[in-house]
Amino acid sequence: MITAFAIFSDGLVYAAYLFLVAVGLTLIFGVMKILNVTHGSFYAFGAYGAATAVGIWFDRGLSDAGGFLFMVGVAMLIGLVIGLILERGILRLVYGRDEVVIVLVTYAAFLILEDVIVLVWGPRSYPAYQPMVSAGSIDIGELTLSNYDIGLVVLAAALAVAVWWSLKYTRYGRLLTVVIFDREVAAAYGINVKVIYTVTFIIGAMLGALGGAVMAPKISVTLGIGVEVIVLAFAVVAIGGMGSIEGALIGALIVGLGRAAAVHLMPEIELFVIYAVMALVLAFRPYGLFTQPAPRKI
């Protein structure tokens, strides 16, 4: 019983983490059809920015709740700036090129940004644990759960609802949906696809940075955290269906619960459970769980 509960709660926490990491990636893919490797850099910059912000805030002895908001704010600001620079400075030049070429452009940008991190922050790690520690914990039976983890689950759920709501009920969201559905028709109806692209990429970058920021207090922010996140996010997004927000949510839940079950019940398979799930899902649903296959054009 306690194990079942533990699998459920651990799975939710991990799923929240995966969703926060994957949502920006799937949004950019859905709108722009770009598999964005730079997403790992957004995550890393968010985490580094957050760690720096936490350092500044708590050194002054300011209040805990404000520290969390300050940390998230700084990280998202960094995401905004980098997203803008990348989209306007580089991506704009390669729109219309082969999809793979664009993936490679983001990969090149990722390599460059990895070294920019070293140049800015140096090759040392940054702890930012204050928000996690000050959040405290609660006991449920034998288990002790961290309030910060519970907060993450709530945040992820809120973010999922917010994204879904804005896609459905805001003007910009509806425009996005049109572009996702058919970019040429959208352009033909006079939607300014260029602006939509820029805004979407920046939002995606800010979401990536947000993922890094909220994870920063749990981890030690160090070089190479971006690389780890990229494949994980790719896997989640591929399972759920590239470009689908519901897909990212369901993908995150499947992977999160699957991994938690593996750790508790069969630790030896934990290492490749994510990829096994991905291969299985793709074998039966080639386009992921939540996307329709594109019509074949004659």
Binding site: R124, S137, S146, T222, L223
Partner: protein, 433 residues
């Protein structure tokens, strides 16, 4: 030197680019070129690569200015100043081997000092022997380097990983005599798997009644350990063994600290020392601290240690962690061997073969105590080691390691004729404690 024209141009361009032309710089004695390989990027840079690099930088500066304490106060290596060629260890094994060849064949270094990943060491070893290039490993831990085959040009003064785990088992049992249940969490790659294997086997020998409960191997650099912590919370283990390092170690301690895991079972960290200066009061009191040897706060109180800690603090503002110590003792070993070879031939630059001959089996002092090149036919060093218990001193606001127990080298290392695994399985015969 009959090169085709274009190849000549290419090669010349590369040599120029790599700064090899600086070789001709006039000096009293031609400088000695050292290639130093360490992680300068990637996740291993901050915990190992950069402390190792920093250690090399200040020790070589001290050598070159002749300011290291006696008996290391000669200039450079036997009077010749040292020139450094830095190389990043990050990349695939093929790249690591290619860069090693470049150092030896293109840059013509006199010796290579470096390597953190055990995979790099295993791959470079046969190439070093093939090229007859003097190579000194400073950090990689796998015992396989000298156990698989006798080696000629490869040396490792810092001891391998076996002693970390046998000593951890001894310390844990001394602290908790009635231990019946323990768990382990180690990264799912060779280092983590080997560490757990050695620790578990040593526990089997020293405390046959104690059983391993949860044996967890999360992915390397996983960062999120919620499920692992829940699993451990449901266990009645009295101790948790871990060979986690840097990012994973700090993430795990923060996350498990927030969920009160260490109140139930203390953390036995074979590399925990590298985390104490950053985690400070977030590292729970009672954590059992290892430093892959008697390094850092576990180092003995001697003049070399005081000197090394001093120059490191002055330059970098934090105390040196164990990779810095390992780099320092590797360079000291190279210096001792080099100067011994030079003395044997009555001055002048010794050849690689002369240094290799002189290196075998030497004993010398280092900031972390005496190093004896006792294993692997005189190529592998052993050292005393130590474990301690963590306490954050609220009064001085500084981390402390107390209850330090020292283990002689012969207590926690296998004898020269047995592999580490066989020796532990056989019940650690001949261990002098």
């Amino acid at each position: 030197m009959k090169h085709l024209r274009w190849s000549l141009a290419l090669a010349a361009g590369l040599t120029l680019a790599s700064g090899a032309s600086a070789q001709q710089a006039a000096a009293p004695a031609a400088p000695v070129k050292l290639g130093i390989v360490s992680f300068l990027s990637g996740p291993a840079a901050s915990p190992f690569g950069v402390p190792g690099r920093n250690g090399a930088e200040i020790v070589i500066e001290a050598f070159n200015s002749g300011k290291a304490p006696a008996p290391y106060n000669t200039v450079g290596l036997g009077g010749a100043k040292i020139e450094i060629k830095w190389v990043d260890e990050a990349g695939s094994t093929a790249q690591v081997v290619t860069e090693f060849r470049n150092l030896v064949q293109r840059d013509q270094v006199d010796a290579v000092v470096g390597y953190i990943s055990s995979g790099s060491c295993l791959a470079v070893t046969p190439v070093a022997d093939e090229l007859k290039a003097l190579t000194v490993y400073f950090d990689c831990g796998t015992p396989r380097v000298f156990e698989e085959k006798p080696r000629e040009y490869v040396f490792r003064p810092s001891s391998h990983a076996t002693k970390d785990n046998t000593a951890a088992a001894r310390y844990l049992i001394a602290k908790k005599k009635d231990i019946t249940l323990f768990s382990g969490i180690n990264q799912n790659y060779a280092w983590g798997q080997d560490s757990w294997k050695d620790f578990n086997a040593a526990m089997g020998v020293l405390a046959p009644k104690a059983k391993a409960d949860k044996v967890l191997f999360p992915k390397l650099f996983q960062g999120e350990f919620g499920a692992e912590i829940s699993t451990l919370l449901t266990s009645k283990s009295q101790a948790l063994h871990s060979s986690f390092w840097d990012g994973d170690q700090e993430s795990f301690i923060i996350q498990s600290g927030a969920r009160g895991l260490q109140k139930r079972m203390p953390y036995v960290g074979t590399t925990a020392e590298s985390a104490i200066w950053r985690l400070r009061d977030k590292m729970p009191d009672g954590t059992i601290i290892g430093a892959r040897g008697a390094h850092g706060p576990l180092a003995p109180d001697n003049a070399l240690n005081t000197w090394f800690k001093g120059i490191y603090m002055d330059r970098y503002g934090t105390p040196p962690t164990y990779p810095s110590y390992q780099m320092a003792l590797s360079l000291l070993g190279l210096k001792v061997a080099w100067e011994k070879a030079q003395a044997a031939k009555g001055g002048g630059k010794p050849t690689t073969d002369e240094v290799v001959k002189a290196f075998k089996g030497i004993e010398y002092d280092s900031p972390s105590g005496k190093v004896k090149m006792a294993l692997g036919n005189g190529h592998q060093g052993i050292q005393d080691t130590a474990y301690g218990t963590y306490r954050f001193n609220k009064r001085t606001n500084q981390p402390e390691v107390v209850d330090i127990v020292r283990y002689p080298a012969e207590c926690v290392n296998p004898p020269s004729d047995k592999s580490a695994e066989e020796w532990i399985k056989a019940g650690m015969p001949g261990a002098k404690c």
